[in-house]
Symmetry: C2
Subunit: 459 residues, 2 copies
């Protein structure tokens, strides 16, 4: 599909223009194809370090002229092979576009470049009393988070990236720079190109600026935990909590294996049953009310008490299992790699989906704890494998495949927040049928040469 000679020429032209900001060093190329999945690394032929949006536009124009693939790169924390250079070409490193361009406290919005990470943004905002809530775990770049429609633990209250980007600017496949909206809170003016770009995984354009919604740092935060005799009991408590309209900020589920891992890793003494961890945001009075209400709901489904507190230190102690979950999981099999996968189902099917998945894990003989953002019906499985154990990797791939199909069969999605990338392309059509043809028609119309992140989303 792409011609290596043309790619080489493109890189030569880029070198003339950008000098030593074009690197073909092996280590740099390797760094820019790192994926934390089981998908093998596919190095770009070169990495170009862009510093301004005009440079991004110029790079795209050069690549368009020579028909050279372009893979946008933030911090490389995506989980489905999004930054692999499946067809060679260049990786465009966006980290130098890391300016916070404007904070508008009275409008609760901020204008940032895509290389700003979420932690850098929140550090910058600290004195304003505002914060940006989306937290996918990794200290990801905001451009990458938008491109993959990221979410995380507090999406149940604050939504995902699709709900928290007011507008964006992007360089399209022909080098044109477009702006998809202004700073108004809502608009009915034309097609929602903001949402079209969010989750497009770099295949439609390269995001060069984002206008993000901010939220007030809550006056008070309460955190708590509660054990349940079964996944079903925990899920029923979640369903009732959501139905009751309690504006829970976080509601996380750890399955018994994950709890066991946390007990071992962090010296905790939690019952090795299903655990829910909750967080409530609001005024002193309202978080108290929310916590007490949840306690009453939980009491209908478990003999264990709901322990909660507004004291930050004690809250962190209660949440310690969640904070250490990833490392606790890895410690179950020292030296192993964890291969994260995620699905999302209607919440009414969550208990069933988690239980079937646990049975599948057991039957397959995998070590694979489950953690869920259960307020959204979204959960992750982290199967472990020792590097080089091909049989284990194959078993994990087969398991992940069954998991995706299970979620789709339950009216859910093969990915709640990780994206399609390379890893889940085969489920996209299974999930969305002929919608995929519509997506591909859009892709062809906006990037007829297929130079923007080819080999992602579609085959």
């Amino acid at each position: 599909m792409f011609d290596q000679t043309a790619i080489t020429t493109a890189i030569d032209v880029l070198k003339q223009r950008f000098g030593d900001r074009v690197s073909t060093a092996a280590s740099v190329r390797e760094n820019h194809s790192h994926t934390t999945t089981q998908i093998g690394s596919e190095w770009p032929d070169a990495v170009v370090f862009a510093e301004t949006k005009q440079e991004v536009a110029d790079i795209v124009k050069i690549c368009a002229e020579y028909h050279c693939p372009i893979v946008p790169f933030g911090v490389g924390s995506s989980l489905e092979g999004h930054v692999n250079a499946a067809h060679g070409g260049i990786s465009i490193d966006m980290n130098a576009l890391n300016q916070i361009l404007a904070v508008h406290p009275e409008d609760l919005d901020v204008v940032v470049q895509p290389g700003v990470t979420r932690e850098a943004l929140n550090d910058h905002l600290r004195d304003t009393g505002l914060f940006f809530p989306i937290d996918p775990g990794a200290n990801a770049s905001l451009g990458g988070m938008a491109a993959t429609r990221a979410s995380g633990t507090n999406a149940v209250r604050y939504g995902t990236m699709k709900d928290n980007v007011l507008a964006l600017e992007a360089v399209m496949a022909d080098g044109r720079v477009i702006r998809t909206g202004g700073r108004a809170k809502k608009s009915s003016a034309g097609y929602d190109l903001t949402r079209l770009m969010i989750g497009s995984e770099g295949t439609l354009g390269i995001i060069t600026e984002l206008t993000l919604k901010l939220h007030g740092i809550p006056e008070e935060i309460a955190g708590g935990i509660c054990s349940f005799p079964s996944v079903e009991a925990a899920c029923n408590a979640v369903i009732m909590t959501i139905q009751y309209g309690i504006p829970v900020a976080r509601i996380e589920l750890l399955d018994p294996l994950q709890v066991k891992a946390c007990n071992q890793y962090s010296n905790l003494t939690l019952p090795e049953e299903t655990l829910l961890l909750l967080e409530f945001h609001g005024t002193q009075q309202s978080v108290k009310e929310q916590s007490e209400l949840f306690g009453q709901i939980a009491a209908e489904f478990t003999p264990h008490a709901f322990q909660w507190t507004t004291n930050p230190e004690e809250r962190n102690k209660l949440w310690k299992a969640r904070h250490d979950a990833f490392w606790a999981c890895l410690a179950l099999m020292p030296g192993a790699e964890g291969i994260s996968t995620d699905v999302c189902v209607p919440i009414s099917r969550l208990a069933e989906c988690v239980e079937e998945t646990r049975r599948d894990i057991e039957e397959t003989g995998l070590t694979a704890p489950i953690i869920g953002h259960v307020g959204d019906g979204n959960f992750h499985v982290l199967p472990l494998a020792m590097p080089g154990d091909d049989a284990a990797y194959q078993a994990i791939a087969d398991f992940a495949s069954r998991l995706s199909e299970r979620a789709i069969a339950m009216g859910g999605t093969c990915t709640g927040e990780h994206g399609i990338g390379q890893g889940k392309r085969k489920y996209l059509r299974q999930e969305l049928g002929e919608s995929v043809d519509v997506m591909q028609a859009i892709k062809s119309s906006l990037d007829p040469q297929n130079i923007l992140n080819p080999g992602k989303l579609f085959f």
Copy 2:
């Protein structure tokens, strides 16, 4: 662009297939081009009453074969000429697709056909303790609301249609039926075609099914009103309320002229100053807390007290001005027509935008009250004109033009919730620049014959 003979042939073929559900009666055609704007009516050549999504697909296929324009029609309450048949062809009446297909209380969602109106949906839901919050004023069809990205008074808390549609099904320009998602609360699987269809005004596809998010009916509702010495004072109170994170459900502004109109029409004795009307949803305790907090904030900006209550009858009394606002406005000029227009700006610019608009109204000599959904920075102006007064209509058109340009210049949008339709096409490029080329590329790729609602959004 379209050939009348081909359109006539298409209608003949449709008549063979659908018999007397294809009408060419003048009264029916007129009814299906009704717009409540100053844009003249443009009748379709025929109206086809569809009863199933398969029929919608068949109608589209016939129209595609003969190159006949198709204008989707719900209840005709849109405000920018969306249902006019600018290029003739057929209007496809969707009202018979009015089934509520499934209610899922445990998932807080519902699956509906597009002809269901929002009031019919909420009547149906009454016993479930759930409701669908989007309220654009008119008892619009949910399909139309999705197609125009409608919102309304409580968008400040519950979002707009873009935030409350989980997934949809649509017939595309070639008659293919696609489904854009499942019932999972969130997904990162592929392009966000749901959001692309929402607000596409029938130009990309015809919506045949919607999966909507529901919300719990609040345990308690508090309502209240407060007068302010100036628009600026009221807006500052709004900004502080939003910044403080009070989850206000409704926050409406009436300008002094609108208050005067309401006093006259509804025999009220409100101070003829800027009025804010608020509503809070939550538990008994939380609405009390919210109301008291707002009262404290308001006290910094006005000498008037914030009056509030949770008693439904008293609440309705306090809100009477808002409920009667439209009719009160029309009564300012008996026999006149009101020509509604809307814009939306960052909330920090709202006072300035409203004040400049009031001055403009005064200088132009129009009678034009202002009502705002001010929590979002969105406001409406309803200039009045006597039918046949061409000069007044021209003055209103010029005024609306300046208003759109003013909002865009302030970083806002020419339409917060009414849409582009025919009326605001000329501002779309002014607001979004080359983004409009991207929209048109998408339109061309998905509807190469331009048969779906031609003449809307784009020239």
